[in-house]
Symmetry: C2
Subunit: 235 residues, 2 copies
């Protein structure tokens, strides 16, 4: 937690109150916050501030904003991932938010176990988004969309997101072309499930404007691949 | 698991026997392996083969090598990380091995909790290395070294690893220079603990030949940062 995220409604008066059990526990245990300390606080979907701690009690920490701080920019990327196992989903959302992905799409695919869509984690995505933003020092949540039908998404939705200035890359171990690096334009990035997209899916993606690109001859786990590729794409 | 790793002693005869409970469970449950199937098998520290499955029983799967396959090259990088929390250590080792790090060093640092060095996970590192290699399709384990004293390591060991052709970069949020990208030479990469290296440590690292470089204004978790930086450094 590198900033404390507050709801705009918590920041209407001159003095702001931090009351979330999770945030209070972290501020006490890890940071041992004391009156007079400086604390970074962000308003969800809004500004980021350096604040001064005015009061510390068991149930509340009160702070006063001193000055604004820049909110880190997002990466101009839409990340489309085949729905992962529930345990992976949690880390994947947090990491993608922390790295600064603009929009995250969870997509069904042939090798995605249908039971993954039943996970209670899907109802808790907003919590992982918050954790990712607090880790990064960001205040603005990415858009998150869910498409449970592969073909209609790839044929009807995806093509409207692709332009010459905003290409779409699908990571595919058997592609001849390498994943680009240090690009200076926006893009859409597609990551398959464990075991990869099936040939039919790769064909359909290519037919609808995606470029299949390879990451070399090592096969990475989904969540590792996402950080690895985003680090490579943008500098 | 994208290859099955065998000990050289398991591959002395013409027919090789897979007997590990973990490997058998994966081959049955996830791949539903049958007689006649092709299976990728690697010999630890040795060659990688395409094999044919000859026999499947409850306690053994027997295969016969058909042809050799290339073992993926390593990245020319030594990764030095401040010892992470036990849960993170496991993923960090697996991911670094999968991505192809040549050598991994676990280092003490001021913000590393001393209790982390007591974790039983340290005795199980070889298991995580195996999982990482099997994920990547690699057969060669990286070197892993442990240094529990920061200053003697940085003053006496680290400088012998640094040359003009093999620089050392330490990720530091407050550095003026950016982390390089798409380098074509070997390097050493240092990643601090949660909360970062303290100023004294950064100074000592710089005095001993490291270059402090920044990743921009987002603060990533250790394991996310490693994949992100390695993707950025090498193409």
């Amino acid at each position: 937690m590198n900033i404390v995220l507050l709801d705009p409604r918590q920041t209407l008066s001159e003095v702001w109150s931090i009351t979330s059990t999770r945030q209070l526990a972290h501020l006490r245990t890890h940071l041992n916050v004391q009156v007079g300390d400086r604390l970074k606080v962000g308003i969800r979907e809004g500004q980021r501030y350096l604040t001064e701690v005015l009061m510390v009690s068991d149930s509340v920490i009160q702070v006063k904003p001193i000055q604004t701080e820049p909110v880190p920019a997002k990466l101009p990327v839409t990340l489309i991932v085949a729905m992962p196992r529930p345990k992976v989903l949690r880390r994947l959302i947090m990491d993608s938010v922390t790295i600064g992905v603009e929009k995250i799409v969870l997509l069904h695919s042939y090798r995605v176990d249908k039971s993954y869509w039943q996970t209670p984690f899907l109802q808790q995505i907003d919590q992982y988004v918050t954790l990712g933003l607090e880790q990064a020092g960001d205040t603005v949540a990415p858009k998150i969309e869910i498409y449970k039908r592969f073909k209609p998404f790839v044929e009807d939705v995806l093509p409207t997101w692709i332009t010459a200035e905003r290409p779409a890359y699908v990571a595919h171990p058997y592609a001849d072309i390498s994943m680009p690096n240090a690009i200076t334009h926006a893009c859409t990035l597609l990551i398959g499930p464990e075991g990869g997209f099936i040939p039919y899916e790769i064909e359909l993606l290519e037919k609808n404007g995606c470029q299949a690109v390879s990451l070399g001859n090592r096969i990475l786990r989904t969540e590792t691949a996402i950080s690895y590729i985003l680090g490579r794409l943008f500098t």
